[in-house]
Symmetry: C2
Subunit: 344 residues, 2 copies
């Protein structure tokens, strides 16, 4: 039997934890009970965790609880939180990767603090210029990987090329049968468009693309992100963050207006009787909880950040993402993608 997939979970981060984290764990265990190829290392207040666990029937061989005394609070300033982070549930979660106990970490705690202490503990992969925060974004066919979503507000061409390598490794771990198509987010599709940084990254990616594990498709405009013509979308953290949040805001605006429209009078409420199941499917497809989990890439081990405000189902999806990333041998994919740097 091959080695089990070990996932370190910060049970205490985010709103309504550890209730929601343990509920999310329960959903995950129920769906994967037949696999039995995983071990969940749960970090946090042992008493609270055990109380939540007592509500479910989770086999003891699939989980391990490691008690930690303190938690990083969302009220603290990031600087104070980082200073006091040692031996918190978040710290111990990440630390377990260095100790060889876990393959990946998951937390719904403070993003800024998580990025800083992950980098402190796990350290950067040699020759990777900057780490990046990647996300999953639904598209017409399936989903894209988009990065950076906010770890680096200013990026040079080397950073963007590294993001292409990291992002395509992530995509390949999630969709092992595909050769990832990589695009650079820009304000036009012609080669002459965009900033000098983008033009340089374009040149570098064009020459790398043939020999590598991905195919560079050139520039992509904002309106094409969801068309499903590409798999990995590379941008700087400022632009990526604005694009992601603008898309979220637009989706919310439209779906809320639609909801108001379809509940506004007797006729529309009758219409819902006939369209109920179809609209339920529509809603499920766009459910942001399905895409929950930003992946911190470029360190000597992957770290997944769940949205702090998500519920147990959202937390489940980010845990499932962790499982898939390790199962898809993400760290090996990265090593393959970066092998050309060895000879530099």
């Amino acid at each position: 039997m091959s080695k089990k997939i070990s996932i370190a979970i910060d049970a205490m981060g985010g709103e309504n934890s550890p209730t929601k984290t343990i509920e999310g764990i329960n959903i995950f265990v129920k769906k994967n009970i037949s696999n039995e190829d995983f071990l969940l290392n749960i970090y946090g207040d042992e008493k609270k965790i055990n109380y939540e666990l007592s509500k479910f029937k989770i086999p003891h061989n699939l989980i391990k609880i490691i008690h930690t005394d303190s938690v990083i609070s969302d009220e603290e300033s990031p600087l104070t939180a980082i200073k006091n982070s040692k031996n918190t549930s978040m710290w111990s979660t990440i630390k377990s990767q260095v100790d060889g106990v876990s393959d990946i970490s998951l937390s719904a705690g403070n993003t800024g603090v998580l990025l800083v202490i992950s980098r402190m503990i796990l350290k950067m992969i040699p020759k990777v210029s900057k780490p990046a925060l990647a996300g999953l974004w639904p598209n017409q066919n399936s989903m894209n990987v988009v990065l950076d979503l906010g770890a680096n507000i200013e990026c040079n061409d080397t950073n963007l090329v590294d993001f292409a390598e990291l992002g395509s490794a992530l995509y390949k771990s999630l969709f092992p049968n595909d050769k990832p198509l990589v695009s650079l987010l820009n304000i036009g599709s012609e080669e002459i468009k965009g900033t000098e940084t983008l033009k340089k990254a374009y040149q570098k990616l064009s020459s790398l693309s043939n020999e590598k594990n991905f195919l560079f498709k050139g520039y992509l405009e904002g309106n094409e992100i969801m068309k499903g013509k590409t798999n990995v979308i590379v941008t700087d953290g400022f632009t990526g963050n604005i694009a992601l949040k603008t898309a979220e805001g637009t989706a919310k605006f439209i779906t809320e207006n639609l909801k108001d429209t379809l509940t506004k009078n007797l006729f529309t409420r009758i219409s819902l009787i006939f369209s109920y199941f179809a609209l339920k499917n529509f809603k499920q497809r766009l459910d942001p909880r399905k895409y929950n989990g930003a992946i911190f890439l470029g360190l000597n081990g992957p770290v997944v950040k769940s949205h702090g405000a998500t519920d147990s189902l959202g937390f489940y999806y980010s845990l499932d993402l962790c499982y898939k990333i390790v199962k898809g041998k993400f760290m090996e994919q990265i090593k393959n993608n970066l092998s050309h740097l060895e000879s530099d």
Copy 2:
């Protein structure tokens, strides 16, 4: 009787012109026939224009046709097009503003060429650092002005402050009773977030805001653009273009999926009988044609760019926007906003 509002129209630019431009003009005239406070100067191929006009009953005192021999084609490279632009319908349209014949220009032709020749002919307003392309963006209450949408891919803090002045003048010309609320697009709402350029612009706008014709509200994140908490959203042209196109792509993705959902089987098609009128209202509210028209600001005269691919109704909305901008005394609003620069 006060001076008439004179609008110069390039009848030849964009797809399916002059058919759609003249149809759009006809819609405008029908809606404003009782006002009679405007004159439309129509530039282009006189024969073709007259043929299209013959389909409608437009009073002769409301329009004037000025023949031009050539048209800027979308097939030409921007550089060649600019070189050969003199005496085209687009050139003559803009030129009429310098000649004192028109107050504003409207074209659905090539954007890049329009920006360059507008700047050549109209010249920059003294002390404005860069011109900007502004757009109207729907929100929960009404609409925002967002700028820059792509005229300048890199901007410094002075440019952003100028955009705030130009954008709030535009907003005030469209909504005369409001004191515009201005926000800077950023990746977080705290003062310490974002690039150095944004932080400097934040400082300058904070000190300007009290004495001026607008109120600075600080930073705004991408997901808040459509919440209706602000009126003018300022960003660089790269970010603005990505945000706008990402929002368009997201809206298209959702509405197309919704359409598929509601037509997929007998039950959903029955539901449409009951929700038909409500959904029609919903669709109309989000109709991108209603927000057609990007406004080029910072020159000695406003220029409006209609989407090239829009239809006659979309062209009508951009013409209506021209009318409102002049009626709202946009150039006077700019002068007021920039008066503090006189003493610098």
